[in-house]
Amino acid sequence: MGKWTSFLVIGLTLTFLIGPFFIIITAGLSAGENLAFPPEGLSLKWYLAVFKVESFRESFALSMFLAVFGTLTALVLGVPAAYALSRYRLPLAETVKTIVAAPIIVPGIIVGLGLLRYLVIPLDFTVSLALFMAHTALVIPYAVRVVAASLENLRSDMEEAAILLGCTRLGAFIKVVLPNIRGGVLAAFILGFVTSFNQVPVSLFLSGPGVRTLPIDMLAYMEITYDPSVAALSALLAIMSVGIIFLAEKFLGFSRYV
């Protein structure tokens, strides 16, 4: 009977995890005008309608921009930081690690409120700049941790060997270190991209009139219009995330790094 019990537990767990996903996909397939489950008839019209909503297009572009460039910026800052933390004995290394990890530990609402109250308002940042900085900051911990993990596996005498063969220190980093942590950097990028793209609480505080990330825009849309397009869009986004992770796992062995 133990076998059946474990089937039951696994089944319930999967239902709990995948169920909402299933509901969202089918709710988006509705032929009716209201967000409901089970759907009223079947059609693809809401999946197509999503692409016609102007604000979705704009907020999608903004979210994409933040996810790509915020993550790239986080990597530009995070890779050297990870390198320094793993190669040198720095006096405040532990403190720096804690501070760098803070955005993961501190609830997003607090980060968002803090940024808004003490950075964005006093310094009068534009909404786009504030969002860009916040998304970069939120992704840095992932960049540092994932890259640091792959640096740990790389022996430092390899760089010394490169230097003795004629490289400068920077040359050794580019020619020897980077190619060997490429997998970790890509994994950090993907993780950062997904994190940034799906980020809600911080963006909620920092979004302003006409400048919203896609998740925030979807929330705003639902307050006014209760049609199945939000479900269709959610389903599309979920499929995109799953697709990215699936490809990353297939070509990178993503789960090694995270």
């Binding site: 003795l164 063969l165 060997n180």
Partner: protein, 339 residues
């Protein structure tokens, strides 16, 4: 002796506040194979890193081929280093590992191809040019690492315990391989090791180090037969070392054990120099083991721990028996200066 090629003058090396090597001076001749020998922490690797330029000296100078290179950075010094871990580039093929330094020097592709293939052939890796380091055995990785440095024709080749990660048989093969390469290329080599057998077998000259200073320096035969200090004697295999003071042999606990007619100082015996069976000293057999040619004994005696050996043809003394033994002055090695 030819004039010195690598010249370390009054070198002091430190990591932060820890002095690793102090006031070390050493002249290495062109084409010489020198080994830096000593226990871990004696400063041998630190000295090697300073010659390579990976560590700046606190004080003192380093000259190579008549030029003061103390301030010359590691990447411009023309020194090759084979790391203990080989430090090969895992993302590059064997060919590209060897070509790495040549590409930095903007050597033409044709010349790179010729020189890399030649150097891979020298270390018998010609057929493995396309393999990644992870697809090579330990010995092959070792040889690849050697080829990667040698292809640049460095003035000095440094080797940091290059054989310690190999199994015993391979180590012997590589040892003679290294010697052959060094003799045929005439390159000046500094070989760092903690294995006295390796040091004595390979070197033209052995530099024995202890606590950041040179304890003794000489040919392998000199060091083996005439260690000048208690530490050197102990490190080189004189396992029984006792002090003679005021006409008596002093035990390891510092007390006078027995009258002994010899000048004050130290006397050292290899296990084979202790005559077992009869004699004025008595001890208990604490351990006996078969070592091919001989039986090796550990004997507990009032003098302290004694190691001795008898020919393997004899019947061994069993553990626990009391045996007599003698420490004959003519078999002992005298060490003058007490430390």
């Amino acid at each position: 002796m030819s004039e010195s090629f690598v010249c370390l003058k009054n070198l002091t090396l430190a990591y932060g506040d820890t002095i690793a090597v102090s006031h070390l001076s050493l002249n290495i001749h062109k084409g010489e194979l020198i080994t830096l020998l000593g226990p871990s922490g004696c400063g041998k690797t630190t000295t090697m890193r300073a010659i390579a330029g990976l560590l700046s000296p606190r004080s003192g100078t380093i000259e190579i081929d008549g030029n003061d290179v103390t301030k010359v950075p590691a990447n411009k010094r023309g020194v090759g280093l084979v790391f203990q871990s080989y430090a090969l580039f895992p993302h590059l093929s064997a060919f590209e590992n060897v070509a790495f330094g040549l590409r930095l020097r903007k050597v033409s592709n044709i010349e790179i191809k010729i020189r890399v293939e030649q150097s891979l052939d020298t270390v018998e890796l010609g057929e493995f040019a396309n393999r990644k380091p992870s697809e090579l055995s330990g010995g092959q990785q070792q040889r690849l690492s050697l080829a990667r440095s040698l292809v640049l024709e460095p003035k000095v080749m440094l080797l940091d315990e290059p054989l310690s990660n190999l199994d015993a048989r391979l180590r012997l093969d590589m040892r003679s391989e290294l010697q052959r390469l060094q003799r045929s290329s005439g390159i000046t080599m500094v070989f760092v090791t903690h294995d006295q057998g390796e040091a004595l077998a390979l070197a033209d000259r052995v530099v024995l180090m202890k606590d950041g200073v040179i304890e003794q320096m000489g040919t392998p035969a000199e060091l083996y037969n005439r260690p000048s200090t208690v530490f050197a004697a102990d490190f080189i295999g004189f396992e029984n070392i006792f002090e003679v003071r005021e006409g008596a042999l002093i035990g390891s606990d510092g007390s006078k054990i027995r009258g002994y007619n010899a000048p004050s100082g130290y006397l050292a015996w290899r296990p084979g120099g202790v005559s077992l069976g009869s004699g004025p000293f008595r001890g208990t057999v604490g351990g006996v083991s078969f070592a091919g040619e001989v039986w090796e004994y550990v004997i507990t005696s009032p003098l302290g721990r004694i190691t001795a050996s008898t020919p393997a043809g004899n019947t061994p003394y069993p553990i626990g028996t009391t045996v007599g033994f003698d420490l004959l002055e003519q078999h002992g090695h005298r060490i003058k200066g007490a430390d």
